[in-house]
Amino acid sequence: MVAPSTPSSAEAPGTPAPGPPPPALADAVRDDASLRRFLHGLPGVDQVGVEGRSAALATRSIKRASKMWAIDTAISMVDLTTLEGADTPGKVRTLAAKARRPDPDQPDVPRVAAVCVYPDVVAAAVDGLAGTGVGVASVATAFPSGRSSLQVKLADTRYAVEAGATEIDMVIDRGAFLTGRYGQVFDEIVQIKHACGDAHLKVILETGELATYDNVRRASWLALLAGGDFVKTSTGKVSPAATLPVTQVMLQAVRDWRDLTGELRGVKPAGGIRTTKDAVKHLVAVHEVAGPEWLTPRLFRFGASSLLNDLLMQRRTQLTGHYSGPDYVTVD
């Protein structure tokens, strides 16, 4: 197995510089057998328990003042996404415009975290976002299935990075994972991470295909061990995509990783989060499961498209006191 490179999120201010992994983790990645032992030695996840906890988290209601803050925070965490076969540079430039100024009538609305597109339209996004600080994320590695050779996946990644992507959303080889070839998945992540250079790496687990929470936990740790900056739930092409319990299991993983290593890694639920209510539930989970330090776009993102407009409508409702309508936000 190849050695993981330094996770780039560790460069963020306030994050301790990564030292050598603790002995337990160094052992974990020594070889295939060790990796397997480590992943299968993780505590199990009880489905009913984790879903019950998520249901309880979803009943929290937050203060009005906090709600405004939560909406703005959620907006700033959005990876505004278009991943269609019909995408064009024009469509991407429209999205970029939305990203830099989500609500033309409300200049104080924060910008989104990033725009997320296919590699061949990265250039259009870079163009549209120049100087805004909004990231350009690109899915790579034969997204969404990941069914190609490592060479193709590496080329795909380099192609996106060379075009100016600052973040790469890769998919893991679920086939390899489900047949227990963890070392292969690990090596692939390590090599993609290397190919990313300075770009942040989000590792998409496609939890809908992993089927069990135990697998979600193992895959999360595998991605963290291999140097992924973020663990991400889904491509958005498979149902179920992001669910609160899945996000919760990932949040537990990054929390436990922090306890073990001192490093902060991120989580990105993607797909299926469409309403402000959903987003706030996720933020409650971030706050209570991982902790308040994760309530930042550096460590938590929403992969979404329609969510942004709902957040904007709810934001207007907060400000005006009456309900807003879809004609009052831009459709891009």
Binding site: S66, K67, W69, H287
Partner: protein
């Protein structure tokens, strides 16, 4: 963007008006709400220490009148009614509880101090479920395995505690009615209101007069009720101390007795447990209903190899529990039911410290008024300490450790109680091995504090005898 101070949960209180609180409540005898001859009591809102209402209480003559009314109803309409008709009355009660669910939930939280989230999601729906479940038995008793025509006992005298006032009343009344008995119920002194609203529901459901009677009052009313010669069956839920007195009091009589008493449940966590869910289960086990639960998982037994890790996770999780206004939907832990109970919890916690256990208490904010106790975890607890042996009945967890499964079983069973137990492990065969050996009437594996009318509930040893719920629970109200 990382200013965490702006992140706060809103007070999201249910409206107190929903409770339709009246200034005065009267006892329910023979189908009428009437003044009792006892000294009226004032029911207190433990969340604020304010008086909620004045409640008339029963004197000895009222107990007699209620038992006679129940007897008349049993020998009259109720005793001769076909099971299929009796069933429909009981179904009506279930439906009316559902219809008046919000009112009952708010009233229960006001009178008891429990969080509205629990009264709304657990107490009230489970109470309705108990009536719904038992209603269906009323015309199927010949299929229950107690012979072709099992007969009711007659008049049931029932005494319930303050921790689940409505739910415990439902646990008692529903099977009694379904099996054809009539009932005289005494709710707890500090929480009489929801039982009296249940009496309203009984009247609303047009049950014949005397089938259900509710007598508020203190222990003396309970003693007079269970001692009354006209009572055929006594069902008591409460402390082991009082349960022993009742069992002694009933010696030499032919009254059938069932007791659901205290507990000191062990919640056993093995090193292969799903730890994050175990933490949730431990929290639910001891902080549900402020720990005022006879089957609370008050003794945490952790395998030494994961004790540190688990305790750290547990403390972090408990720090997120919100203690406060019972009517706030964001409240996790409400008010202690009474000053007396608060004093008892404080006294035992002080004993824990004095005996050398390590105390950790959540730094959560507590309201200025009302009876509150911050969630507390004692580690380095040993079997000999009072906090490991006595029922605290509050949000206080005692943590002990073990090394082997045999040791876990030995420690778990080392108590005169035997109500419930918890097991946390991913290994199926170990769950069953443990479940066989735990001396407890209810064993929760990889979960805790689950209740259902179809699942029998009750204790071993000094946690009482007889079961409530399920087919087995019918036996308590049948002459079999």
């Amino acid at each position: 963007m990382t200013d965490h101070t702006v992140w706060d949960y809103a007070p999201a209180p249910e409206s107190r008006d929903l409770a339709n609180l009246k200034p005065a409540y009267r006892m329910f005898v023979d189908g009428e709400f009437v003044e009792g001859t006892g000294e009226p009591l004032k029911s207190i809102n433990p969340g604020t220490e304010e008086v909620l209402a004045e409640v008339s209480t029963a004197g000895p003559s009222d107990v007699d009148a209620a038992v006679r009314a129940a007897r008349r109803a049993h020998e009259g309409p109720w005793g001769s009614m076909r099971g299929s008709e009796r069933a429909k009355y009981v179904y009506r009660i279930a439906r009316l509880i559902q219809e008046r669910g919000r009112e009952l939930a708010v009233l229960e939280s006001l009178d008891n101090g429990k969080p509205i989230r629990e009264s709304r999601d657990v107490d009230v729906p489970t109470a309705a479920a108990h009536f719904f479940y038992h209603a269906g038995w009323a015309d199927k008793l010949s299929h229950a395995g107690f012979g072709p025509d099992p007969r009711p006992l007659g008049v049931a005298g029932q005494v319930v505690p303050w921790n689940f006032p409505l739910l415990m009343a439902a646990w008692k009344i529903a099977p009694a009615l379904a099996t054809g008995n009539t009932v005289v119920l005494k709710p707890a002194e500090t929480t009489p209101l929801s039982a009296l609203v249940l009496a309203e529901i009984v009247a609303q459901a047009e049950l014949p007069p005397g089938v259900v009677n509710v007598l508020p009052g203190a222990g003396d009313v309970g003693a007079a009720l269970v001692g009354h010669a006209g009572v055929d069956k006594v069902a008591f839920t409460g402390s082991t101390e009082v349960g022993k007195l009742i069992q002694g009091q009933l010696a030499g009589t032919r009254k059938k007795l069932t007791l659901e008493l205290g507990g000191k449940a062990a919640n056993v966590v093995f090193d292969d447990a799903p730890l994050d869910q175990a933490v949730e289960g431990i929290v639910n086990g001891i902080f549900f209903n402020q720990g005022h639960v006879c089957c609370a998982g008050s003794r945490l037994l952790v395998q030494e190899s994961v004790a540190e890790e688990l305790l750290e996770k547990l403390r972090r999780r408990v720090s997120t529990l919100r203690v406060g206004d019972p009517l706030d939907k964001n409240t996790d832990v409400g008010a202690i039911n009474s000053r007396e109970q608060l004093d008892k919890i404080r006294e035992l916690s002080a004993a824990g410290e004095a005996e050398g256990a390590e105390r950790w208490t959540s730094a959560c904010a507590l309201p200025d008024r009302g009876f509150y106790f911050a969630p507390t975890i004692f580690s380095d607890v040993h079997q000999s300490m009072r906090i490991a042996r006595e029922e605290i009945f509050g949000p206080v967890l005692s943590v002990l450790t073990f090394r082997t499964p045999d040791e876990a079983v030995a420690k778990a069973n080392n108590t005169p109680y035997g109500l419930s137990a918890g097991i946390w492990t991913e290994k199926g065969s170990r769950i069953l091995w443990m479940a066989q050996r735990m001396r407890a009437g209810v064993v929760w594996a990889n979960t805790f504090n689950r209740f259902d009318p179809s699942a029998p509930f009750g204790g071993y040893q000094e946690s009482g005898f007889g079961r409530e719920g399920g087919r087995a629970g019918l036996e308590a109200y049948l002459d079999v």
